[in-house]
């Protein structure tokens, strides 16, 4: 058994090392793919090993690693994992492997593509397991670079615009967040008598003055909100999604967006309880607006991928609403929603990619009767759409139900408005299904469009199984999350 003491580092840096190996040895497409897959299986194995050795029912950080790094500024190399990050870590390692497998038919510069996916994995995992502000920020920024190149090189016709928009939007947001972090660093330093970026130490020993919290919380919230994204700052997302290659979209929707939600809980909520209580209502409003407005925009789209992108905005809005509810149900629902949305949106974007590949269009108006010629793909489409609109028995339903129960006990009216988005969601999915997949087949789409290949079937079947499993038996994730939610709520001081 590998000792827990370097399992996190192993998981964190294997993808980076694999990226170098792929770059060095992956001269041919086959080798590049095989090496990348192998390189992504190791972190997946690490995360599963950790799950095996995970101590349930405790809020303590596990698998902790801590080394001094840059002592002059109190920066430590501090990694650890708890109930908040564990589901997201597994989601990240799993989706990276599936994305690499799914990208088996990428033929354009395969070596670089795989390298970037692996570097992206290191960045994302780093965000989820860093317990030092500085390390957190470092990984947060590292994520931008591979994603930028994935969009800009392998993307659709407007990829350059989308890539630069993504980069500048999120970079500016990170800088605002950095300002917030620096403010925390100094304020905490004054109270402690020494300067440190150590998140846990600051969380345990420092309590910030009310006016300071009210000032800094918006900066942090802005940084995270752009990543989530919520409505006024969501405009980079549809562009990025539509132009990104399928693998990029899967990673973007599946895990990148979760960084925002995770940061919000871990940092903003953990450090600024008073500000959280003060701004809770405003956050709920932002969440509800994102849910309803995102759903309305999705309803108006003709491009399937864009529709799914807006549905992401809508679903991530419910994460914000759940968090703003400040109770256990809301929290659990929000975190479960992140997990479920990771699985479901990954599946949706994969399906979109396959559809595009096989009939060369994603426009609903240009499709029609697809189910009659590409039956297997259509089955998965129907399943994923239903999962996303919250069919009972699937993971999305559990998430939404808990969010609504949690939110309703705090904000009755707002939650009722939010529930409108459920109706809208059902409407756009069912309408799209009807127009694109059923009815007479549109002959312009080609005589014999190709159905699923094996490397597409495997990830889809796996995701289907997981969505079904967690829809029927959400307890493993819920139990893990519950303890940490209660702990954070205790800090925030909300109702139980």
């Amino acid at each position: 058994m590998i000792s827990g003491n370097f399992l996190l580092s192993l998981m964190l840096f294997t993808p980076l090392v694999s990226a170098l190996v792929v770059f060095a040895l992956g001269k041919q497409e086959k080798q590049a793919r095989a090496l990348a897959l192998l390189g992504s299986l190791i972190p997946l194995a690490c995360s599963l090993l950790m799950l095996n050795g995970y101590r349930w029912g405790t809020v303590e950080l596990q698998f902790v690693e801590k080394w001094a790094w840059i002592e002059d500024f109190g920066i430590t190399y501090y990694l650890g994992i708890d109930g908040l990050s564990m589901p997201l870590v597994i989601l990240s390692t799993l989706l990276t492997t599936l994305t690499i497998l799914f990208s088996w038919d990428v033929h354009h510069r395969v070596r670089e593509y795989m390298c970037l996916l692996l570097i992206l994995e290191t960045g994302i995992l780093g965000v989820f397991i860093s317990l030092d502000f500085f390390l957190f920020y470092l990984f947060w920024e590292i994520v931008l670079l591979p994603m930028y190149f994935l969009i800009a090189e392998w993307g659709g016709p407007r990829r350059r615009y989308a890539a630069i928009k993504f980069f500048i939007y999120t970079h500016v947001a990170s800088l605002v967040m950095l300002v917030g972090i620096i403010a925390i660093y100094f304020n905490a330093g004054e109270q402690l008598g020494y300067y440190t970026f150590n998140m846990m130490e600051i969380m345990q020993k420092v309590s910030f003055a009310r006016h300071f919290q009210l000032l800094v919380f918006p900066a942090l919230f802005f940084g995270f909100a752009v990543k989530i994204p919520v409505v006024p700052v969501h405009t980079w997302l549809p562009d990025a999604h539509v132009e990104a290659p399928t693998g990029g979209s899967v990673m973007l929707a599946g895990v990148l967006l979760k960084m925002g939600g995770y940061g919000l809980i871990r940092i903003a909520f953990g450090l600024m309880p008073e500000a959280v209580r003060f701004y809770a209502w405003s956050m709920a409003v932002v969440g509800v607006v994102s849910m309803v407005y995102g759903a309305l925009l999705a309803l108006a789209q003709d491009d399937l991928k864009k529709m799914i992108a807006y549905s992401s905005v809508s679903h991530m809005g419910s994460v914000v609403l759940g968090l703003a509810a400040l109770n256990v149900m809301g929290f659990n629902g929000a975190i479960f929603q992140m997990f479920a949305h990771g699985l479901i949106s990954a599946m949706l974007f994969m399906l979109c990619g396959i559809l595009q590949h096989s009939v060369h269009t994603r426009l609903i108006s240009g499709l029609g009767g697809v189910a009659s010629r590409i039956p297997r793909l259509s089955v998965f489409f129907v399943f994923a759409f239903f999962a996303s609109l919250g069919l009972p028995g699937l993971a999305g339903f559990i998430a939404e139900l808990t969010v609504y129960i949690g939110a309703f006990s705090t904000y009755q009216t707002l939650t009722l408005i939010a529930i409108v988005s459920v109706v809208l969601t059902a409407a756009y999915y069912l309408w799209a299904l009807e127009r694109a997949f059923f009815g007479p087949y549109n002959e312009e789409l080609g005589e014999h469009p190709h159905d699923l290949y094996w490397f597409q079937t495997v990830p889809l079947v796996l995701l289907t199984a997981l969505i079904l499993f967690f829809g029927l038996y959400p307890a493993p994730v819920m139990d893990m999350v519950d303890v940490s939610s209660r702990f954070i709520l205790q800090i925030v001081g909300g109702a139980f």
Partner: protein
């Protein structure tokens, strides 16, 4: 320890090596016209001088009647300047043999470096001024060094006129300071000036000095010469001017503003902060509008001068450390990026942004090296360029009050600068070139480019040593 003794000579060894090597190269080159020999002599003497400077680390002595001080600050900056000169000379391996005055090119660089190393340890205004003039005068002819470069003539004249004008301003300001206090020594000046808190003449002198050195630091509104001169000079010269000699003016800034004028630090600080904001913003906005990469980077260099100035305005140890870090970071980045541009422009026949299209395919190594340096310039972690800005922002936050605003403006400017740096990267990586010209990647350029890029990355990952020594150095400026 007064007077000039053998032991004093030991403390001045880096300077002595540089001066002697300059004279030897001049003589040897005028007889033999052997360019390779001149190159070897130049780089070896620089290496020897750097070694001699490294040996001085940890010393803290004052020599030659209190005019020269050897301490961590002085030695660190000596090492930085000599190191940057080594990079430039090394990178000029392909440039210098093609020009008529190759020997002179090395000699001027050596003398300019000599001036800068003296600057780093000068402790009175006269030594400071003489060292500064040595640096300036050595570089006045550099824009002309390549006779094939037509623009060089105009650049040299512009550089010379603005340079001598600024020297006159500085000299006038310094003479007023001397008239007020009767001393030239920086520390006694600081003590004497504490009685002249509200003297209008003092502020006049101060403004003259700021304006004069502001020219050399390329601080807005005194920066107007810089884009023209940087664009007109041969690119290796631009790299040397922007990476090394400009930073010399900042060293003077540390000594004059932070040590000698400490009595009126509040007023000076406000002026410097305002200038820093103006410089950063103007530089970045102007860079955004450029289509010519060389001019774009000339403006970016102006903007970075504003970043360094933030450290002077904040008046704290950490801020000075941040400025020193940014001097190192920007020096390395400038050498790397300008030599990279020089190489590409030589192959594509111009510095126009469009010429960088498809570089990823035709010159993959160069493109990747440039990309790393661009990321560092934009202040993306974990490169060194991020660290230096980070320390500057930290120091401004630490100072509190309206300095926080200064920090925010620095951060916003950093975001703004990303737009044009990313544009170069985008053109290199995304645009495909109409006719695919295969570019011959010369080993020596690639080596310099990667030396810079790897240095920025490695120090970016493990900055603690450099941060520690910069902090240590800063203690000698602000105790």
């Amino acid at each position: 320890m007064d007077g000039v003794t053998v032991q004093t000579m030991g403390y001045l060894l880096p300077e002595i090596i540089l001066a002697a090597a300059g004279c030897v190269i001049m003589l040897v080159y005028s007889y033999t016209k052997n360019r390779t020999l001149a190159f070897i002599l130049a780089i070896d003497s620089l290496l020897a001088a750097m070694f001699a400077a490294v040996l001085l680390l940890g010393k803290d002595v004052t020599i030659i009647f209190g005019t020269v001080e050897i301490n961590t600050f002085a030695v660190l900056l000596k090492i930085i300047f000599i190191f940057l000169s080594i990079l430039v000379v090394w990178a000029s391996w392909n440039f210098a043999p093609n020009i008529q005055y190759a020997g002179e090119y090395y000699v001027f660089i050596l003398f300019a470096t000599l001036g800068m190393t003296l600057l780093a340890s000068a402790q009175d205004l006269l030594t400071l001024f003489v060292a500064f003039e040595l640096t300036s005068i050595s570089t006045y002819t550099l824009p002309l060094i390549d006779h094939r470069n037509e623009q060089g003539r105009e650049a040299a004249v512009k550089y010379f006129i603005t340079g001598s004008f600024s020297s006159a301003l500085v000299l006038f300001g310094l003479s007023i300071l001397f008239g007020l206090t009767g001393t030239l020594h920086l520390k006694s000046l600081a003590v004497a000036l504490s009685q002249y808190g509200g003297e209008p003449l003092l502020f006049a002198a101060c403004m003259l000095v700021i304006a004069g050195f502001g020219y050399k630091m390329t601080i807005a509104p005194f920066h107007l010469w810089a884009p023209d001169v940087y664009e007109g000079s041969p690119t290796p010269v631009t790299a040397f001017l922007a990476a090394a000699t400009k930073k010399g003016a900042f060293v003077v800034g540390f000594k004059v503003f932070l040590v000698a004028l400490v009595a009126i630090k509040l007023q000076v600080s406000i002026v410097l902060a305002a200038l820093a904001v103006l410089t950063m913003t103007l530089g970045n906005v102007a860079a955004l509008l450029q289509q010519d990469t060389k001019r774009m980077l000339a403006y970016s260099s102006v903007a970075h001068a504003g970043n360094i100035l933030v450290g002077l305005a904040v008046y704290s140890q950490l801020a000075v450390a941040g400025s020193i870090l940014h001097i190192v970071a920007h020096g390395i980045m400038t050498v790397g990026i300008f030599f990279g541009l020089f190489f590409v422009a030589g192959q594509r026949g111009g510095y126009d942004l469009a010429g960088f299209a498809g570089l990823r395919k035709t010159a993959p190594l160069t493109a990747f090296g440039l990309l790393l340096i661009l990321l560092s310039l934009a202040g993306i972690p974990p490169f060194l360029g991020f660290w230096s800005k980070m320390v500057l922002v930290l120091s401004a936050f630490e100072a509190g009050g309206w300095y926080v605003l200064l920090a925010l403006i620095l951060v916003l400017n950093s975001a703004l600068s990303l737009v044009y740096y990313a544009r170069i990267a985008r053109v290199m990586y995304m645009d495909s070139e109409p006719e695919a010209l295969k570019v011959q990647e010369k080993g020596s350029y690639v080596a310099v480019l990667y030396a810079c890029a790897i240095l920025l990355t490695l120090v970016g990952f493990f900055p603690d040593q450099l941060v520690a020594i910069s902090n240590e150095a800063a203690r000698f400026i602000i105790p």
